[in-house]
Symmetry: C2
């Protein structure tokens, strides 16, 4: 049976407990949300001592299944004021698993303003004072930590904005190369991390205590079939490995939902300069350490990431992803990969969410703080976040606060969290997800772009979104990357087979869906207790009042329909 | 029967209607809140075209009753996101009354970015383009308007922050001397004013169409008794006329609830430099145009205002009031009347709320933007609000946003609106009002400082606050100043007599209270529809966690009790 490690920052004590019987079949988001509802007072201050930061691995974590190493982190979000789960690639999930840990809960708040490293090695857990890391970026911090604790450790950490408890701060995880490049980016969980007085969690798994499948034969057989499907599916075998998520630039342009100039347009006139083909050509041409395909976590066979090189072939940033290209590119009128990648590198170094930062800068551009298309201006603003100047702290508070202070009404956000790279007027099912997900606007909470519906019609989108949201919870709870979904969706029974083989139980697809529904119910319960109402399940007014020019449509799923999504759920 | 004037800024048309039968006995706050609930979609954007700005005179407006000329302005607040009524002295109410107007509703939003003067003269209503007033302060604007429209007009107007739609912006009314000194300060209604494209409302009442009392004899008799009571009550005949509201510095110090250094203390070591006696001595010593007693509206016999002179005897600002002294004085560690008065003058010129501004600067001081006690720094910050710099826009967004951006947890506000000059830990009944009033933290919504209870005990405060809130609605609906309450409270039946004599009806005290309860129900209904929950009826956590040192107490009225205040109401 796996362990739960609990770190009490009030008294700097660690303790452990076995996973409770009723939590045994909960992993990833299912577990963070359940524990959040059980242990965090929903009315608490997100940066206060009553909030908790909960790390959990998925039900398939540590296994040979491709793309199963997503790390869930949950708690009460300082950005939304509601429950949050944000997941990430990297190696943290695998290392936690190898320690025999299902979840790590950090609670309380240190009395003094001291910064700690939480070091976990085998059975040993230490809180080590870390003055020397104060104010360092993630690159420098990781370099020091790897020098001190070895190159085999996993590290989850924060940059300066996390130390300053800014709402755009995420948690950074190192990847297989030791680069601080994979973020639990959304919802400001880096600020909660910082509020606990922790700079970095270092995990040194000397031996592998990961729970082996109970029915090894069945597990191997199912996993073999998964690999066949991945190889036999165009998305997972050709498009993602070649282009990665940047392929979505083209898809979003076709749907007229590429966020452009602060969500005022759905197409970008220079989209050809920031699309998948342009990225592939540029990386290939520059060569050196650049890579068009790269895995973000151990055992992934899709390898949809990339390594973006500078002109001289040295690494600029791993990896340039679609949401970053959309929010920091077209949304800001910036058509240069070098500029976007430089901002991305800064965001990784500072440990901040490229989506929220991109949306907030878009709002600031609309207010005239810098001009649309001004890449240097955007870089300057990102550096201000890190320096903690007033404008930096403002952008660092996220898009909604930025809009409120600068007097901008067009703010693409729900429940205080910015939308990702899809204008909801051109992709209405995702618009329903943005509006109704307990997570705030979040493309991973129920993406509908591949559903067989007319994305511009309001008809049936609530059902499409509901199904996508249930599906997303399943992936988030198993620790599976959504990118492998194109393969699994052809034989979803494999998900159940893998779980049953690993845990020796007898789930059906219905059990899996019932688990996911229960997670959504838990999350909504938390938010209701935190003070959310149906008014929070709405898109900003401008999406209903302003035509998206290229799509010639507004967001017209009516409030009554939105309100019905969780009725009798 | 009185009229309602309606200005539609969508098409720049004015129209009028008679007061509906069911609104006949609604004045001031009762009318603004009823019309807001009936006509404003609670989910609307406060600065959008669906919001309305509603001016209403009280049921006793335009009569000879002392202190009956408060002007109520209501709408959806950009500061709280809920319903708002904010009232003010000045001459606007009387002039509206003389025009035969019970309420003025400004709705819609002009298509183009043009600034207008709304000019009402007799039956004539004009919207006049006012380019020349753009960006002017209220002093300059009033000077130009009085030169153009004569010295007999009433003017309600906004400064630059109102034009920029900042949440600290109020609506400024000129007083009997033509000074822009009386504000509907709270809740950001100046921003709503600005969002309608209006710089000033100018009211030229050539003849007096004010409704005369139906039973003149009874009315005169009752009013005579009111005057006797005012003369026979120490507060209204001696203390207020001599010291005005500054007398509260002493009272608050005794209760250990004088907001000091951003609500971290309940006493100020230099309180003797900013108390009533010091103010009286200083004004008397400087002489010139300074006055220790002054009326803020026509017909007031209490005259609790003052005119604060500069050293040379010229007017610095009319009038220095307690809330300003507390929030901009002790709360900021500033012990100089000259500094406080200078900030007050700037706030009047810019048309911004001294309470919200003081609270926001207190939070900024805690964040280290300037130091506590730094008067020049505080003046600089207020000037930044007007200039619209980023820090200015931040402070101009109010205390809650300022705290959120600057990372300060100690923010003395409820529902987004800052507390007035009383720490709720030392005056727990008012703490209950702060928490539960539909208006957000507001001392005028249910002041309990004169109730015969132990203000530090949590016991019975919910009932004390409930009664005070009902009482406040009565005064706000009659257009009566709360300062006259010390006299009326000795024979409350006089309120009913005056109304019955004026309108020829047959109310009892119960009718009056039932009216007030219905107003509170309307306001709560609006807020519920706007997305408020019981979570919004809470004080910030620090009041429950941090001892107020001098009072040695926390705010310990428990949430369950707070939640009960409107149960079965």
């Amino acid at each position: 049976m796996e362990r739960i490690i609990r770190i009490n920052m009030n008294n700097l004590q660690a303790s452990q407990e076995m996973v409770k019987e009723e939590h045994k079949m909960l992993g990833g988001r299912a577990l963070t949300s359940k524990l959040a509802l059980e242990e965090i007072p929903p009315e608490c201050e997100p940066l206060g001592k009553e909030n908790k930061l909960i790390f959990a691995v998925g039900l398939l974590a540590g296994t040979a299944v491709s793309s199963s190493g997503r790390l869930s982190v949950g708690g009460k979000s300082p950005l939304t004021g509601g429950i949050k789960e944000s997941n990430s690639g990297g190696i943290t999930s695998q290392k936690l698993c190898q320690l025999g840990v299902r979840a790590l809960i950090i609670e309380g708040k240190p009395k003094e303003n001291i910064l700690y490293i939480l070091h976990m090695s085998g059975e040993k857990i230490d809180l080590i004072e870390a003055k020397e890391l104060k104010g360092l970026g993630t690159y420098d911090t990781v370099e020091k930590l790897r020098a001190r604790f070895g190159k085999e450790v996993a590290i989850s950490l924060i940059g300066q904005p996390g130390e300053k408890k800014m709402a755009v701060a995420g948690i950074v995880n190192i990847d297989l190369d030791g680069a601080p490049a994979r973020l639990n980016a959304r919802g400001g969980l880096g600020a909660v991390f910082g509020s606990k007085g922790i700079k970095a969690v270092v995990i040194d798994a000397r031996e592998n205590k990961c729970q082996k499948p109970i029915d090894k034969y069945l597990f191997t057989k199912a996993n073999k079939r998964v690999l066949e499907l991945i190889k036999d599916t165009t998305m997972t075998s050709e498009i993602y490995p070649r282009y990665g998520t940047s392929a979505i630039v083209e898809l979003a342009s076709q749907l007229n939902c590429l966020p452009t100039l602060n969500f005022s347009h759905g197409q970008f006139e220079h989209a050809d300069k920031i699309n998948a083909d342009a990225l592939f050509q540029l990386i290939t041409k520059r060569g050196g350490k650049g890579k068009t395909t790269h895995g973000c976590m151990p055992g992934c066979v899709i390898r949809c990431s990339n390594i973006f090189p500078k002109e001289d072939g040295e690494v600029l940033v791993p990896s340039l992803e679609y949401e970053t290209i959309a929010l920091l590119g077209s949304n800001l009128g910036i058509a240069s990969f070098d500029t976007i990648a430089e901002i991305n590198r800064l965001c990784n170094d500072y440990g901040i969410d490229t989506i929220e930062v991109g949306a907030a800068i878009g709002v600031a551009m609309e207010a005239g703080i810098v001009s649309f298309g001004d890449g240097d201006g955007a870089i300057r603003l990102v550096k201000e976040i890190n320096s903690g100047s007033v404008i930096g702290r403002l952008i660092g508070s996220g898009s909604v606060i930025t809009g409120r202070v600068l007097g901008v009404q067009r703010v693409p956000a729900v429940k205080g969290q910015a939308m990702a790279g899809y204008d909801p007027r051109g992709l209405k099912g995702l618009g329903v997800t943005y509006a109704t997900s307990p997570m705030g606007a979040d493309h991973t909470a129920g993406q509908t772009s591949r559903a067989s519906v007319d994305h511009k019609s309001s008809k049936g989108q609530v059902e499409v979104s509901r199904n996508a949201q249930i599906n997303a919870v399943i992936y988030d709870s198993l620790g599976l990357c959504l990118m492998v979904g194109a393969a699994f969706s052809r034989e979803p029974q494999l998900l159940v087979d893998l779980i049953n083989a690993r845990f020796g139980n007898n789930w059906s697809m219905e059990s899996l869906q019932e688990m996911a529904k229960e997670v959504l119910r838990n999350e909504r319960d938390f938010n209701l207790l935190a003070g959310f109402t149906s008014n929070d399940d709405r898109l900003p007014h401008f999406f209903q009042n302003e035509l998206l020019p290229e799509a010639n449509t507004i967001f017209d799923v009516v409030n009554e329909e939105l309100g019905g999504i969780w009725r009798n759920f």
